[in-house]
């Protein structure tokens, strides 16, 4: 019998072969080759006969809620923080006034590294990339006049996460808020620091132990708090591919699940409060596929491998942030356009919250003008674009479904390689993740240098004259103001109390106990971040960075 379809395909293939090809090879931003046309779903690993399932139902390929944005929009959450706690508190109030629906806190580098403002290593960095936080008083100032039972608060901090969480809980209690009503997220993802972000204080094993301490304490005492935001964002920023971002992040999440189970926790008591944080890069389709694959793999692992019974444990909820590394300092206003497409990808992929970068972020921290435009980008997407009208608008596209399955397959291959290296900690110690990421970053730079990838304003369509845009200047007085304030706190606190609280903290750490309760007591005695971290380092030791590249 004569096959009409194959005739048609042959005719198309002939015409395709005869057509000219552009000089830039058709690959994703991660370098994955893309076919000219897709005509099936590329395998049936997760569905039978092309059945994609329903949103809100296992395995959540099409989204974690039945109604998605028809019911409730994503949370528009812009990351902010600079200068003193008082300055950031003002920026928070400005953002809430403009219609932002949640807060997200950026801390300065000394805080992220667990150092006080008066440490010599902090010189020049105090309040520069985020808000400076030395003691409970800074935390009080940061959220002054903000109703912590009404607004959800995200805090991006990792190595000292447990110390900062103790400050937050102590601050909430001093103001009379009920811990059970607090909503928010602490990043608390130590593992990705070892892969990419490099804000590391303790060696890998005790770092994970502290992550689990926070999970254990909060799943009981602060039940609405997201205890880890398992983050691929920084892995991607460090130059990984989409598949690496996905694989390493999910592997990190699963490692926390295993360690929490080893602690004796019930999977359904903590898994619903693990959330995720992914990058939203330039390649719209690859990103949408990445988020869909993430949901499939997580749901499958939690249900089938770890025996979770509660559907909330199976659902992968994620925050997305547009890709900082995609922004350019040439023709910076063009960044607005990049960010808009990246935001579209996150929404088409079903994110629960979103940060859109400001156009000026390769030059400095965002100005109020730039951050307003970034937020407006989300509002246009939400209310004008139509992207929110139906659930999983790209579901069933041959291309998206094939990419989703392909990414899921690459993740499974990476899981095998990590197992083969002896598991997460052994793979970290062998430098596996860093090497994979650095290889990908170098390959990308090579592709850009060879003009296989064109970047507007950088290696194509350059302008002779660069337009100037106004940028935010951080007040140089921040550092000296903060040092003076810290000095005053140190003079007014009881040295005896401080010493006693730090001794108790060391004792609990030595005994292998959960250090969050003694940290809350220490916070109330105005122990500083640096003092608490030093006490923990006495017990856990310190990480030493390598020189491999």
């Amino acid at each position: 019998m004569h096959d009409v379809t194959s005739d048609l395909r042959e005719a198309w293939e002939q015409e395709l072969t005869a057509s000219p090809a552009r000089p830039q090879p058709p690959t994703t931003v991660s370098g994955m080759p893309i076919d000219a046309l897709y005509q099936d779903f590329g395998g049936d690993e997760f569905d039978s006969g092309g059945d994609l399932g329903y949103p809100g139902q296992y395995p959540f390929l099409r989204g974690i809620h039945a109604s998605m944005y028809r019911g409730r929009l994503w949370t528009m959450r812009q990351f902010a923080g600079f200068g003193t706690a008082q300055q950031t508190n003002q920026r928070f109030k400005f953002l809430l006034e403009k219609g932002q629906t949640g807060l997200s806190t950026a801390f300065d580098l000394p805080t992220l590294m667990g150092l006080d403002s008066d440490d010599p290593r902090s010189r020049g960095e105090v309040g520069r990339l985020g808000v400076t936080t030395d003691t409970l008083d800074d935390m009080q100032q940061l959220f002054a006049d903000i109703d912590l039972e009404a607004v959800s608060v995200s805090m991006t901090i990792n190595a000292p996460a447990i110390v900062v969480m103790a400050f937050y809980l102590a601050a909430a209690r001093e103001r009379g808020f009920d811990w059970k009503k607090l909503r928010g997220t602490i990043q608390n993802d130590a593992l990705k620091e070892f892969h990419a972000q490099n804000e590391i204080v303790f060696p890998a094993e005790p770092s994970v132990k502290l992550v689990v301490d926070l999970i254990e304490f909060c799943s009981e005492q602060v039940p609405q708090w997201n205890t880890v935001s398992v983050s691929g964002y920084h892995i991607r920023e460090a130059g990984s591919t989409a598949a690496q971002e996905l694989a390493f992040t999910l592997a990190d999440g699963l490692h926390y699940v295993e360690k929490s189970l080893e602690r004796g926790l019930d999977v359904d008591a903590f898994a619903p409060r693990l959330s995720f944080f992914f990058n939203s890069h330039n390649d719209v389709f690859e990103e949408v596929a990445k988020y869909r694959a993430a949901r499939l793999i997580w749901a499958d692992a939690l249900r089938n491998q770890y025996g979770a019974q509660n559907p909330a444990s199976w659902k992968l909820r994620f925050h997305a942030q547009t890709a900082g590394c995609s922004l350019q300092d040439k023709q910076p206003e063009v960044n607005l356009i990049r960010v808009a497409y990246q935001a579209l990808a996150a929404v088409l992929g079903g994110c629960q919250s979103l940060h859109t970068n400001s156009m000026d972020e390769t030059l400095a921290l965002p100005s109020e003008h730039a951050v307003t435009l970034a937020l407006r980008t989300q509002q246009v997407l939400a209310y004008e674009s139509g992207a929110t009208n139906t659930v999983d608008p790209l579901g069933g596209s041959y291309f998206i479904e094939t990419l989703t399955r392909k990414l899921a397959e690459e993740v499974r291959q990476y899981f095998e390689r990590i197992d083969h290296k002896g598991g997460m900690i052994a793979a970290i110690e062998a430098g596996f993740f860093r090497r994979e990421i650095a290889d990908a970053a170098f390959a990308y730079q090579r592709a850009v240098d060879a003009q296989e990838k064109l970047i507007v304003g950088v290696n194509a369509f350059q302008e002779e004259e660069e337009p100037k845009i106004d940028i935010l200047q951080v007040d140089e007085a921040v550092e000296s103001d903060q040092l003076a304030a810290l000095q005053k706190i140190k003079e007014n606190r009881s040295d005896n109390d401080v010493r006693r609280r730090l001794d108790e903290l060391r004792c609990v750490a030595e005994a292998g106990g959960n250090v969050l309760p003694p940290l809350i007591d220490a916070a109330e005695a105005r122990v500083t971040v640096g003092e608490a971290m030093d006490a923990l380092a006495d017990v856990y030791g310190r990480f030493r960075p390598g020189e491999a590249w």
């Binding site: 580098l109 000394p110 992220l112 590294m113 150092l115 290593r121 902090s122 010189r123 020049g124 960095e125 520069r128 990339l129 620091e193 972000q197 490099n198 804000e199 590391i200 920023e237 460090a238 130059g239 590394c325 350019q328 300092d329 040439k330 390769t362 030059l363 400095a364 650095a438 970053a441 170098f442 730079q445 850009v448 240098d449 970047i455 950088v458 290696n459 940028i471 951080v474 960075p545 390598g546 020189e547 491999a548 590249w549």
Partner: protein, 138 residues
């Protein structure tokens, strides 16, 4: 006196608390592939330690990567220590997020060149090669 043909030695370093090392690692590989002898300091170096390493390694160039905004505190200090140690022959180049006005000040203070985000590796290679004024000591 003849020009030296052995590769120029470049010490790349991260100073301060900034952990963004994507750029510095890409530059390290790129310069190595272009024939330079490359050493990388690792993260979180103090200016004194970096100058000491540059002297110990007999580096021709010191490439500082900084994305934290602390450059106007740390780079002048680094240059001062370099000069105090009598290591003027070590040229200093800087890469990272450096606003234009700050870049101009750094050049005035004695930085040889500031490379911003998106710089092709070849541009760095060309700059270092053009500046190569080393001669055989007879």
């Amino acid at each position: 006196m003849t020009e030296r043909s052995d590769p120029q030695r470049v010490l790349l370093a991260k100073i301060g608390l900034d952990g963004h090392d994507r750029g510095v690692k890409v530059v390290a590989r790129g310069l190595r592939d272009a024939g330079f002898h490359v050493i990388y300091s690792g993260l979180w170096q103090a200016p004194e330690a970096v100058i000491q390493a540059a002297v110990d390694e007999d580096a021709d160039w010191l490439g500082i990567s900084l994305l934290s905004g602390a450059h106007m505190t740390l780079i002048p200090e680094l240059l001062r220590i370099r000069d105090e140690q009598g290591a003027h022959h070590v040229g200093v180049i800087v890469g990272g997020i450096i606003p234009e006005e700050d870049a101009a000040k750094l050049l005035e203070m004695g930085v040889a060149k500031v490379f911003g985000p998106g710089t092709p590796i070849q541009e760095i290679v060309d700059f270092l090669s053009a500046q190569d004024d080393r001669v055989e000591q007879s």
